[in-house]
Amino acid sequence: MNTDQLVITLGSSVTPVRRGLIPRRIMWGVTAGGAVTLAMVVLQLGFRPDLVIAMHSFAFWMKWTYTLSLAVIAILATAHLARPEAQRPRWLWLLAVPIAALAALAAGELIRTPTSGWAELWMGLSWRICSTRVATLSLPIFAGLVVAFRRLAPTRLRLTGAVVGLAAGAFGATLYCLHCPEVSAVFVLTWYTLGIAVAAAIGALLGPKLLRW
């Protein structure tokens, strides 16, 4: 096709585009993927039996505040990188705030606990499976976001992949809290963060392939 024809063809095939396409598509991707992840938690793992009681506890909200704030920051960074003129990441430095806050809580726990109890704080009951589950539960959300990106225009593909993976990991961890009975900040800081980091690494690995346009 020659260029003049292309101008006419594209020009006549224009349809209105509503404002806010980027946030709408990203929210759609998170919601669609999150629904699958939630189904995985409910059907494969099950809610923790004491969920209603736990929702009145400090530990539960500490975990949710941590994972949700990481998720919100990662989503803001994702939305920024969805525009082609975004050459540098934004918002990511804010990740230091929840991480530092949780690290402070973890330090407090360690100070209050005799060293003989540290292993239990750190390993809990589920340290072997926690990170793997967080990373696995992130995959549907990651897939949802990748599909959402099909109309978006990232130009830093590896970075965008990592940030999308981070968001998926943090949302996956948020939903995993509905199952996970662990209560210590030391545990969450170590194993949740590791699972989320693995999700981000998977994103960085796959980003250049999956987000190319």
Partner: protein, 178 residues
């Protein structure tokens, strides 16, 4: 004559509202812009230039929802062109240095256009006095480098560096990246 930033932007806004005439005018204006952009940067034949130009226009079409009406148009369009060029070099396994978006906007003559929408004094006020004066002298008052250097009683290379760094800082602010 080449279309101005304001003109491109109003066509694009019309296109996003579904105005086919505005969109066709926008695409027609993009043809020479993109042809010269790729022509100046590709060593290969004109076939490559034409292919990349068409690919970029199709990408602009399919990704037009990522354009934010409150931001300048040229950085958005050139960012897509730059991405398509990087993708092309990656496919052909060529290793070539590619300029930053900021420098592209400067060399394609859009740094003035993107800044024009904003209050120039306010923008320049955010720079160091030396950079602001160097840009004012060479870009707004039209003095040569040596005239600007003599006027400010500093070296010519100092003027050049101040202009370059100042424009880069302005472009960063205008394109909204931190």
């Amino acid at each position: 004559m080449r279309a101005s930033e304001d003109q491109l932007r109003s066509w694009m806004t019309g296109a996003l509202d579904g105005d086919a005439a505005a969109y066709t005018a926008l695409l027609a204006a993009l043809v020479p812009m993109l042809r010269s952009f790729f022509g100046n940067r590709l060593r290969g034949g004109s076939d490559d230039v034409e292919d990349l130009m068409q690919e970029t226009m199709m990408a602009i079409h399919s990704r037009r929802g990522t354009y934010d009406r409150d931001r300048p148009f040229a950085p958005w369009a050139y960012a897509i062109a730059r991405y398509k060029m990087i993708d092309h070099f990656r496919r052909t396994r060529a290793t070539v240095p590619i300029e930053d978006l900021e420098n592209i906007l400067v060399s394609e003559g859009f740094e003035a256009a993107t800044a024009a929408r904003l209050d120039v004094d306010k923008l320049l006020g955010g720079l160091s006095p030396k950079q602001a004066q160097a840009i004012r002298a060479t870009r707004l008052e039209g003095l040569s480098i040596s005239e600007a250097a003599a006027g400010a009683e500093i070296g010519e290379s100092d003027v050049k560096i101040s202009v370059h760094r100042g424009l880069a800082a302005l472009a960063r602010r205008v394109t909204g990246s931190s």
